[in-house]
Symmetry: C2
């Protein structure tokens, strides 16, 4: 994580001076949270005792740092893997290692969703899975629509049911008349003009935009008009959305460029120290390959991933 993650979106909205959020994932991210920092506390203290259903659920849910939410998803994966191996209990240390974070962070993250561990022992895998799933809203299905059935859209549509169940793909859209009606991954492609109707009919909650840059904003507007409140955007553009809509952005170009930056930095450091300059280990290509060449501007962009 390192974070960065991540990616993330952006919000801009009309509202009165919105700070805008965004993040990027790169890990880090920022988001706007607002409200007060209610300093943690409170709920932790509540006399837990018996299992109360729908406890102070909303109280709790609020105020989980966005960064922690992303990690909860990672913990969930690690936990599922443990469950498959019939492991019933884990310590924060073990789980943290599996998830690639340190144990203090893990415990803090888990504390945001409640106290489900046993001191001196650890956490029960199944219990934790249940609690995280509940917190992330995974106890309900979220219909997904994919717009733009190019290479990427195809890839996304092609495994029925997104990232492991819970996210059934229930609609596909493209501009291309030749594609309309053709089933991809079992679902026939609809025309982009029908986004509003189809999405509201099929109760789509998450829209995935895998179109070229040009069409993206238009598609986004239609998804929103169709009642979609969450968007995962692969197009390299900052989408404009009303504030009740959540956007997450995955930008391949940005990811590559961040990596490029690190290569450059490392090379510089090497030069800086060795001065006479040869990078260590695997080092720099030096020889044949590239050099300037007037980078054709790293952004004619993705186009139809």
């Amino acid at each position: 994580m390192p974070e960065g993650d991540g990616q993330t979106s952006a919000r801009t909205a009309a509202s009165p001076r919105t700070p805008d959020a965004d993040a990027t994932d790169a890990g880090g991210n920022g988001n706007r949270n607002e409200g007060g920092t209610n300093g943690s506390q409170a709920n932790g203290a509540q006399a837990n005792g018996s299992a109360i259903e729908v406890p102070a659920a909303r109280e709790r849910a609020r105020s989980i740092p966005e960064a922690a939410v992303a990690r909860l998803a990672v913990y969930l994966r690690a936990l599922s893997s443990l469950a498959e191996q019939d492991i019933t209990t884990v310590s924060s240390e073990e789980l943290a290692t599996a998830a690639g974070v340190n144990s203090a962070k893990l415990r803090k993250d888990l504390s945001y969703i409640g106290s489900y561990g046993t001191r001196g022992v650890g956490y029960e895998v199944e219990v934790l899975i249940g609690q995280i799933e509940r917190t992330l809203g995974l106890t309900r299905k979220h219909s997904v629509a994919v717009v733009g059935i190019g290479n990427l859209g195809h890839a996304l549509a092609n495994y029925g049911g997104f990232p492991g169940r819970g996210f059934p793909v229930s609609a596909l859209f493209d501009l291309d008349e030749d594609l309309v009606g053709v089933p991809v991954g079992g679902i026939p492609v609809s025309h982009i003009d029908d986004i509003v109707d189809v999405c509201s009919q099929r109760e789509v909650t998450i829209g995935v935009i895998a179109t070229p840059t040009q069409g993206a904003q238009e598609v986004c507007d239609r998804l929103v008009a169709g009642g979609v409140t969450c968007i995962l955007n692969f197009a390299p553009i900052v989408l404009q959305v009303p504030e009740h809509v959540e956007v997450r952005k995955v930008d391949l170009a940005v990811e590559m460029q961040i990596l490029s930056f690190h290569v450059a930095r490392r090379q510089q450091e090497a030069v800086a120290s060795g001065e006479s300059g040869q990078v260590d280990g695997a080092g720099p290509p030096g020889g044949g390959a590239g050099l300037p060449g007037e980078i054709d501007s790293a952004n004619r962009m993705v186009e139809r991933l």
Copy 2:
């Protein structure tokens, strides 16, 4: 995002451990400045005139916050777009809007790479493009290898030259014998056993892992052995790498789950306030669709995206 995530791994451990405990200097917030603003100044003034190569480059490059690096890539895109429209000058306000951030953040970010604006006027588009490209190391080509030619790998390989030039895909790998030798996007697929050789021969600097979870760590190890120091990982696993290797992770499942969380949160809020509960606007599906159904554990995972 996605800090989210994203994630950055290798981190320089340079720092000494912790300062720690007792010696707390109470309250003295004497800020440590350090890194950040390295003297700034100076160079701005230099009689630029001629193009000076490698100025105080290394000094500058160090210490750019990771989050800022990600945003520089976004600014670059916006700038390229402006350049295409033959716009030669922008103010921080305009550029910030185009990039979806606020102007103070943008100026601060740009200040990390130097002073290339003109007070009272703004920034020259071409100059800024050049500086950002240099900072991100885009003045050099970075050969890319894609491992795992499933749906996603296909999509990635299929537009020759990754995200807009500068990132030529120069090697493809898969386990499947039937795929080996078949050209995809113009490049013949090699066998996964040849990763080390091919990567070092073709001087691959960035490896993209688009394999199922199982193979990912093994593939990663080979890429590293082949001299690859940057990895973009689409497999839902925390890769183990030596510290000089930089990993960025793109995790679709996590992205979806974060969105799911926001849906859940919104619904809760709606219930919390309206109590009798109907969400506003586009609102909740309410009717027919999903409900629990024993989420088959949101993580049997991606597998061969």
